[in-house]
């Protein structure tokens, strides 16, 4: 009945009512449908992001565990292959004293045993220093990095230098250790893979940001290479760097210098208010 009224050309009110009602209903339903679909899309996208983040975290955790195990194996190998035989040899020399009663021979055996024990002490000291450098704890990041670069320069393999422009107040000890490990890892990578002849590290502060830049003239990575390696199964050290930076809420950027002759790695960290209190 309503439709017949609408189709009648004389009844404007019916037409207004019919089309008005249909129009309003169409707008309402259209709005609801749009909102529902839009929200579904947003939720699906968020779920996808969550899954990707979980996968990334799993990869980083696995890399961290693998690295830990490798480190333990290396320490175990160092102790077993180097320290163990040395101490066994020292024991042999000392045992000889029970058998050989000749004083000269005894003194010689004790002297040999002492030499070997000295070597063992030095070996264990080196293992300990590689685990936790005492310079870092006692004198801070600047001294520890200086030490590291001096050792590299001293070995003659390349020219290594560093300059801290604005490090009057030390960061927290835990944070200094993390930054030191990152620098160690980056420097190790440069030594192993880049074939560089020099490496230079600078430190700056700008506002509440703490920057460390490493320049070298060998084969380097760009940011694209870094991200690709991070997603793949290789690049354990880089994944470790990524996990450590996450703890500090920092960023890392790999690039080739503007002059196209150097590779540059920039580490950016946020300086917290209470960062300066040593633990």
């Amino acid at each position: 009945m309503v439709l017949l009224q609408v189709l009648s050309p004389d009844n404007n009110i019916s037409m207004v009512l019919f089309f008005g009602t249909i129009g309003m209903l169409a707008l309402t339903i259209g709005l609801i449908v749009f909102i529902s679909f839009h929200q579904r899309k947003v939720i699906r996208y968020q779920q996808q992001l969550q899954r990707m983040e979980q996968d990334q975290q799993k990869t980083l955790l696995n890399a961290s565990i693998r690295l830990q195990e490798e480190e333990r194996q290396r320490i175990a190998a160092d102790l077993h292959d180097d320290a163990g035989p040395l101490l066994a040899t020292a024991r042999l020399y000392l045992n000889e004293n029970f058998v050989n009663l000749d004083k000269t021979t005894q003194l010689q055996s004790i002297y040999n045993a002492k030499q070997i024990i000295d070597d063992t002490i030095q070996l264990i000291r080196n293992i300990s220093h590689s685990l936790m450098p005492p310079t870092l704890k006692n004198f801070g990041l600047e001294s520890a990095v200086n030490d590291l670069f001096q050792k590299i320069s001293g070995s003659g393999s390349m020219n290594a230098s560093c300059r801290f422009h604005d490090y009057r107040e030390r960061l927290k000890v835990e944070n200094e250790l993390i930054i030191f490990r990152i620098i160690q890892e980056l420097v190790n990578n440069i030594l192993k893979h880049s074939n560089a002849s020099f490496i230079h590290l600078t430190q700056n502060t700008s506002g509440n940001k703490f920057f460390i830049r490493i320049h070298h003239d060998g084969r380097g990575l760009t940011q694209t290479d870094f991200e690709k390696l991070n997603k793949s199964n290789v690049g354990l050290g880089l994944k470790n760097i990524q996990s450590r930076l996450k703890v500090l809420q920092g960023k890392i950027f790999f690039e080739k210098d503007m002059s196209q002759t150097y590779y540059k790695v920039t580490i950016e960290l946020v300086k917290e208010e209470d960062n300066n209190k040593p633990a």
Partner: protein
């Protein structure tokens, strides 16, 4: 037939609420809508069954429109999260209520009051759009249609949008024409009550039972023998 269905349609959401939601500690918004449905049903019965109701049909409709707006405004005040929007709802609702009351008192009460009905409809549609806009902007952790409030707002929007034009031109219609076109209101009312029922069911089945969350109730911890 259709007017009868429209009058008894509130029984569906009332029954569903009492059976499924009453024991589940429903949110205040659902109680507000339940109260509104009861009131609407009671007024329809009074209008049909009493002489006073039939004689003062337009007056009752005017008063109900004011009460309906107050209830819906309170529902949106509870449902919308933003404190700023809540503040504005209170301010604007007070102004609109003052306008509606003054319009009602100055009107003749012998005809359908289009101004009250259409202002109320437009205000409620605006509040519904604000609610939906807020839902889009909130970071979503569940689908919007798994929330009872969404279905209630949908129901309100369907009713208000489908009856808006009817209410605007009702003043210019004769009694016979009003009776003829009131079919739109009857259909909208029936659909609205069905969607209210869906809202109550969504509340019941989207909220997990306490027995499905054994660690949420400390009395479930076994005692030492």
């Amino acid at each position: 037939m259709l007017p009868t269905i429209s009058i008894i349609s509130p029984l569906l959401p009332i029954t569903l609420f009492l059976v499924f939601c009453f024991n589940k500690k429903p949110k205040r918004e659902l109680w507000v809508i339940f109260f509104y449905i009861l009131l609407s049903f009671a007024l329809d019965i009074i209008q049909l069954s009493t002489r006073w109701g039939q004689e003062n049909h337009f007056e009752i409709f005017g008063v109900f429109a004011i009460i309906e707006y107050s209830i819906y405004a309170y529902f949106f005040y509870l449902a919308i999260g933003s404190k700023l929007i809540k503040k504005w709802i209170v301010i604007i609702s007070v102004l609109i209520l003052i306008l509606l009351i003054i319009t009602f008192l100055r009107s003749e009460k012998k005809n359908f009051n289009s101004i009250i009905a259409s202002v109320e409809s437009i205000a409620i549609i605006s509040l519904s759009i604000i609610f939906l806009f807020e839902q889009i902007n909130k970071p979503p952790n569940h689908f919007i249609y798994s929330s009872a409030n969404f279905w209630i707002v949908l129901s309100i929007m369907v009713y208000m949008s489908s009856t808006l034009f009817l209410y605007i031109i009702a003043k210019d219609l004769s009694d016979d024409e009003i009776k003829k076109y009131w079919i739109i209101n009857n259909i909208s009312n029936t659909v609205t009550n069905i969607i209210f029922g869906i809202a109550f069911l969504v509340f019941r089945f989207s909220t997990p039972n306490p027995s499905e969350q054994p660690y949420s109730d400390y009395t479930n911890i076994p005692q030492k023998p």
